[in-house]
């Protein structure tokens, strides 16, 4: 069983999935930040591969991408960083997922990218501008290598679309909490819960929820309805402002984890039991 499969199957609470942009705020901060948030209780870590034109991202992640590119981050650098994380005891076992737009991946060469991602120790990929219709080769390439291809489910999707995306995702899907770009929002909308319930009724695979998930209160509100919560922009804001980014990010992740544990105490059955 792969690192990712183990984590997905054994969870008895929503997984805590922090997102950090590679090479942000500084090139040499990524190893420290990722090891610190892993130690603080992150279950899966999503690492952003910066792109010049991040269509699905709000101002916070846009800023972090611009900064990372200015710092000199490339696709090859991100893969190399993942390989380094794999060699560190603190992060050797935590599933690492790359989130990046399709153009840098295609430019690198799809097969070459998937080969290098596999040997670096990447567990999964989220490509927000690659819907299932455009992803035949990509999905096949991921499957052949045992890398998770994670597709996104949007709240305005009709039922049949939710099914399409769930079937396309190889391990789990990523539900976008509201129509919009990434970015922290103050309140959880009631319709997000209704959306997640609709996905639960239709999906065969686990799914996580992200976009606008800010803190512990959102983990408590949405956690019971999903298999994981992704926190991105709120964490990036902390990395932007903190004197010690790794410590501040770890403190934030510890809070999220405590909230997730609290949801788990509400006796959410693990995914493998729910699916039987």
């Amino acid at each position: 069983m792969s690192r990712l499969e183990r984590v997905l199957r054994q969870a008895r609470r929503p997984l805590v999935i922090p997102f950090v942009t590679a090479g942000f705020p500084e090139l040499d901060s990524t190893l420290d930040i990722v090891t610190a948030i892993a130690a603080a209780g992150a279950d899966v870590i999503e690492i952003g591969v910066p792109f010049s034109d991040p269509l699905a991202d709000g101002p916070t992640i846009q800023r972090s991408s611009e900064r990372a590119l200015a710092n000199g981050v490339t696709v090859a650098w991100v893969l190399d960083t993942v390989a380094k994380l794999r060699a560190l005891p603190a992060t050797s076992a935590v599933p690492l997922i790359l989130m990046g737009y399709c153009n840098p991946i295609f430019r690198y060469g799809l097969d070459r990218f998937l080969d290098d991602a596999l040997s670096a120790g990447v567990d999964g990929l989220i490509v927000p501008d690659l819907p299932p219709e455009e992803a035949r080769e990509y999905r096949q390439g991921c499957q052949q290598r045992g890398i998770a291809a994670v597709f996104l489910v949007a709240p305005n999707a009709p039922d049949e679309r939710i099914v399409t995306v769930d079937r396309a995702s190889t391990h789990f899907s990523y539900c976008v909490s509201i129509t919009g770009v990434t970015g922290a929002r103050a309140e959880v909308q009631a319709r997000t819960v209704a959306f997640l319930q609709r996905v639960r009724a239709l999906a065969e695979k686990p799914f996580v929820v992200g976009f606008g998930v800010r803190g512990a209160e959102h983990v408590l509100a949405l956690g019971p309805y999903a298999d994981g919560v992704v926190v991105g922009s709120a964490l990036i804001e902390i990395l932007e402002q903190a004197a010690d980014p790794a410590a501040a990010a770890a403190a934030k992740v510890a809070e999220l984890r405590a909230a997730a544990d609290q949801v788990g105490d509400g006796a959410q059955p693990p995914v493998e039991e729910r699916q039987q």
Binding site: D53, L55, R107, P131, E133, L152, V165
Partner: protein, 405 residues
């Protein structure tokens, strides 16, 4: 509207060969499928087609004249140069062909708010115009740098009741304005219709925007016919995203004329500061479609440069990438200074102040003439896609300095 003409491209998935497609965030997929359905239905609806025809005629001012430019012809050595006067349309450019069509679709789809991106401001003005006429809320995204270059158009949009939102990310030009418009659409997809201004973006936009502009080439066919000219030898148009060019070319794709698209070479192709995507770009994905793209080795999109804000775009419509790859059309480029020189020549010898974008197409005629490619008696139709009032202030600055040329 005779868009029922059988189409070989794009296919059902929106592909022009290996170009095109639908590379967008998932939230937009339901919206694009809904738009595609609504568009196909509208084309079958006689009322929609009639309404479009009427607005083109009575509101936009079609058909536009096809003018035989005698003095320009003479200056170029005797080829017959005809100018398709899209600059005489309401709002001063071809863009309104498309915005009328898309606004009608927005109404059909019960959307109350329209958004647009704009570079030179011509598409923004054309969108603000139809939004005012139909009583729709209108928001236009425009790069901060373009706002400075095209102040007049900003004021026009505001007069027409649109809200112009400055975009300060990235290169602060059309590319970034498009990113911002797409982000708005992702956020407000329920009540908002995104009126894309060129033959770019995810399927069905490149097809739909093309269809709304094909009236240009169809009229040229009728108008030349009235002068007993069966087919021209050359069709020439400027290409940023490529909407006026595809509009001119489309009706002639299965026929004889040579099709030439003219891109902006900016400070020169070797300078790295240009917008000549088809000439030197590589395959990539931007703004929802696979096409050619100015990008670096790591797949980051590079900044384009052109003196003309409307051509200042690092991507290009997928159908042009396909027409180039299949060899059906060829693409050339002219520099900023060649475009400015052609701008001045057209003012002086024909009494027509062209948009800087369109001046690129005129400039290419001079290149052709110099190389002896343009033979006496050959028929050339150039799309004069817009008028130059918007560029006069910026030109005064360039021409005032003199040494920049």
């Amino acid at each position: 509207m005779s868009t029922s003409k059988s189409r070989s491209v794009p296919d059902k998935a929106g592909k022009f060969g290996r170009f095109g497609g639908r590379f967008v965030p998932e939230t937009l997929i339901p919206a694009l499928l809904e738009l595609e359905r609504a568009y196909e239905e509208a084309l079958q609806d006689a009322k929609f087609v009639q309404q479009l025809e009427n607005l083109r005629a009575d509101y936009a001012g079609r058909p536009t004249p096809l003018y035989r430019a005698e003095r320009l012809s003479e200056e170029l050595g005797g080829a017959q140069v005809w100018l398709k006067r899209e600059d005489l349309l309401h709002t001063g450019a071809h863009k309104i062909n498309n915005t009328i069509g898309q606004a009608l679709l927005a109404l059909r789809m019960h959307k109350t708010r329209v958004i647009a991106e704009t570079g030179a401001g011509q598409h923004g003005v054309a969108t603000a115009t139809v939004a005012a006429m139909f009583g729709l809320e209108c928001v236009v995204y425009m790069g901060q740098e373009d706002i400075v270059r095209q102040r007049l158009n900003v004021f026009r949009m505001e007069l027409l009741g649109a809200r112009v939102i400055p975009v300060t990310s990235g290169s602060r030009t059309l590319k970034d304005a498009t990113n911002e418009a797409i982000r708005d659409w992702v956020t407000n997809v329920e009540n908002t219709f995104y009126i894309i201004g060129s033959v770019v973006g995810p399927h069905p936009y490149p097809m739909m925007v093309r269809d709304f502009h094909t009236v240009i080439g169809r009229e040229v066919r009728q108008q030349l016919g009235a002068h007993s000219i069966g087919a021209p030898d050359w069709l020439v148009a400027c290409v940023g995203g490529g909407s006026n060019a595809i509009g001119l070319f489309y009706d002639w794709i299965d026929a004889g004329p040579r099709l030439i698209g003219v891109e902006a070479a900016g400070h020169g192709l070797e300078s790295g500061q240009h917008a000549a995507t088809l000439s030197v770009g590589t395959v990539g994905v931007l703004h929802g479609a696979r096409s050619l793209l100015l990008q670096d080795d790591d797949g980051q999109v590079q900044l384009a440069h052109s003196i003309s804000a409307g051509l200042d775009y690092p991507g290009v419509g997928p159908e042009h990438a396909w027409l180039q790859e299949t060899g059906r059309a060829s693409y050339a480029s002219v520099t900023d200074s060649e475009a400015v020189a052609a701008f001045e020549r057209l003012c002086r010898c024909e009494g027509i102040i062209p948009a800087l974008e369109s001046a690129h197409a005129i400039a290419y005629l001079y290149q052709m003439a110099e190389r002896g490619e343009l033979r006496a008696g050959e028929v050339v139709v150039v799309c004069l896609s817009g008028r130059g009032d918007k560029d006069v202030a910026a030109l005064a600055e360039v021409l005032g300095k003199g040494d920049e040329r």
